[in-house]
């Protein structure tokens, strides 16, 4: 990914080819969407916790449905698929307790992912700043 001919290389855990398909060479747009996605994932994560505690699998499913494509926008399509599978699991249970283990796992994974995303955004911003100066 480049602006003005200077290439930005995403960290190894991101799907660079996929990000290149999404953003072409537009690093500014990629940064905007990363920032906005991070904020939304953090918000939805809090909502997910409260929906789980309320005990309704369908309302929990809706939160993960909404969150799901955000992982695609930040170049983590495998995580998007993982969330998709969890969303499907929410359809197939009648009691929230049947989901507890998977729910705790996915909340942990998304929490860790948020840190990684914030680091990547910081890298992008630093790269952009260095290039401008």
């Amino acid at each position: 990914m480049n602006n003005s001919g200077v290439h930005y290389m995403f960290s190894g855990r991101f799907d660079s080819a996929y990000l290149s398909d999404l953003y072409g060479g537009d690093l500014d747009t990629a940064m905007e969407i990363f920032e906005s996605s991070i904020n939304h994932i953090a918000t939805e994560l809090n909502i997910a916790v409260s929906r789980f505690n309320s005990g309704d699998p369908e309302s929990l499913r809706r939160v993960f449905h909404k969150m799901k494509p955000l992982f695609g926008y930040v170049g983590l399509p495998a995580l998007q698929d993982y969330v998709q599978r969890f969303e499907q699991r929410c359809y197939n249970v009648t009691h929230i307790e049947e989901l507890r283990k998977e729910y705790e796992d996915i909340i942990g994974v998304i929490g860790d992912t948020l840190s990684i995303l914030r680091q990547e955004l910081y890298r992008m911003q630093s790269f952009n700043k260095a290039k401008v100066s």
Binding site: E32, S36, H40, H65, P69
Partner: protein
């Protein structure tokens, strides 16, 4: 002429992403972005667009329920992260279905389908539009419209049979109509080119109506009509 559109999407990054693609393409103008169907329906009751980018699962009405409530149906590109909606999309005859997130190339393919259909409608003379007159929506076929005249905040649509006055602006209509079949001939007039009877100096005539042609528009009018 750009495709006028709205975005109906409750996920803000997805709406931003889509708007960036619209800007980048230079083919689509976004008239508004709405986080739910209710706000979009309110906008569509007062405004006309060619295209709706529509999410399915949203708070309140879902995308399909919104389509059920539309009085006129612009073209629709569904944008969802759930491929299971493809069957419903087919049933609702949407123009295309984009699975989020989608690439720029895939977006362009979808927009080009919209353009193609729009052009086919215009060429076949089957294109139609609903205008709001006295609280109801009236359908006009493009072929029926002789010309449109600005009246400040209102516009008069003139057909062979009737005249309709509706709240709208010339700028909006110019974006919507001007292309192969219609042409702006003056800051206050857009005419149906096939309805012109004759042109003399800076005036054209349609069924006895005298319409001024401004100097700045005259060349483009002459270019669009078939002059021997």
């Amino acid at each position: 002429m750009k495709i006028s559109s709205i975005v109906v999407e409750d996920l803000q990054p997805a709406a931003e992403f889509l708007q960036k693609f619209c800007e980048r393409s230079g083919l689509v103008s976004v008239q508004g972005s709405f986080p739910d169907a209710e706000q979009a329906l309110a906008f569509l009751s007062e405004n006309l667009v060619d295209l709706i980018f529509l999410d399915v699962e949203m708070p309140g009405l879902n995308g399909f329920q919104m389509l059920d409530q539309l009085v006129y149906q612009p073209q629709v590109i569904l944008t969802t992260s759930k491929p299971e909606y493809a069957y419903d999309a087919f049933e609702y005859k949407v123009t295309d279905f984009l699975k989020k997130p989608f690439t720029y190339q895939r977006f362009l393919d979808a927009v080009q389908k919209v353009e193609k259909i729009k052009q086919q409608e215009a060429e076949s003379g089957n294109a139609e539009i609903f205008i709001k007159v006295n609280g109801k929506l009236v359908k006009l076929k493009y072929d029926e419209i002789l010309f449109m005249e600005s009246m400040g905040d209102y516009v008069k649509f003139v057909t062979a049979e009737k005249r309709y006055i509706t709240l709208n602006t010339m700028k909006n209509l110019e974006q919507k109509f001007c292309g192969n079949q219609f042409c702006k001939v003056h800051r206050s007039y857009i005419v149906n080119l096939s309805a012109i009877d004759d042109i003399q100096e800076n005036t054209l005539y349609i069924r006895g109506n005298e319409i001024p042609v401004s100097k700045s528009n005259k060349a483009s009018v002459l270019q669009k009509i078939n002059v021997l």
